[in-house]
Symmetry: C2
Subunit: 159 residues, 2 copies
């Protein structure tokens, strides 16, 4: 799906983002694929046209686009591995504020199936439903409409 230069310009303006060639290139690369690329993949692609570009710019720009709501971060749980010893089928409620994950058992959700088309193309071995929102504690302090960046990572303390 080709994107007109003007279209990008309009979308950026609508969000109050300045229109720069790097930024437009990153957004264009993302909008013209369905492959959910990583920051690095986008960097590799855009760098072909802008060899001076810093990976920093890619991170900064993706953050800006995300905060503006122009792109989604598909896997916002990319911060640190989390484990679960509960092996029975269950789903999750995820708090976007404090990042708590709460178990949710529901037989109805267990029975979901992908459409037949995908079941043929893909060898599906399971599924999981994730509800996103704010827990009671975070609801009170929930920011209006602003999206919040992930919590800063904490270092693994040794001492």
């Amino acid at each position: 799906m080709k994107l007109a230069e003007d279209d990008i310009r309009q979308r950026f303006r609508a969000c109050g983002l300045k229109v720069t060639p790097q930024r437009a290139a990153i957004y264009r690369a993302l909008a013209e694929t369905t492959s959910h690329p990583t920051a690095d993949a986008l960097y590799q692609q855009v760098r072909r046209r802008y060899p001076m570009m810093s990976p920093n710019t890619v991170y900064y720009t993706l953050g800006a686009l995300r905060d503006a709501g122009l792109v989604h971060e598909v896997n916002y749980w990319h911060d640190g591995a989390r484990f679960d010893a509960n092996l029975t089928s269950h789903h999750h409620l995820v708090c976007l504020g404090c990042r708590a994950i709460v178990d949710l058992m529901d037989a109805r959700l267990d029975r979901l199936a992908a459409p037949a088309l995908q079941r043929r193309a893909f060898d599906i071995i399971g599924h999981r439903v994730e509800f996103h929102g704010y827990c009671a504690a975070c609801r009170a302090s929930k920011p209006g409409t602003t999206r919040r960046r992930p919590e800063p990572k904490k270092r693994m303390r040794r001492a």
Copy 2:
């Protein structure tokens, strides 16, 4: 849910894992909580009883437990951020082999709702269904029953 020492021993043996105090402590800590802790959180907790323990051991042990199927990694998409410019409601098919993410539109899945109990406790603003499996390309090379560790991360090349 308290876990008897013998119970842990049996589960480990059944998977061919040696039973060590550190390993048992890590598994116990994980089995006795529903909070989906990070490796660091487990380290902090278990370290209270085993001050000499290295964070390394926690990573190694969690990997072993996961490969043995005794625990699940809740958010295996914790490796690197991935982005999506498709803002329309959709769900995902995730290939456990090559980690590709394929879009999946299905109005039926859009209409899911959490049980009323959770809807009261949690301010839910959205949900997403993730189907896991193997794409056509990976199906061929899919290992029998062995679980595969995540692909090695690739560094962001500058030169």
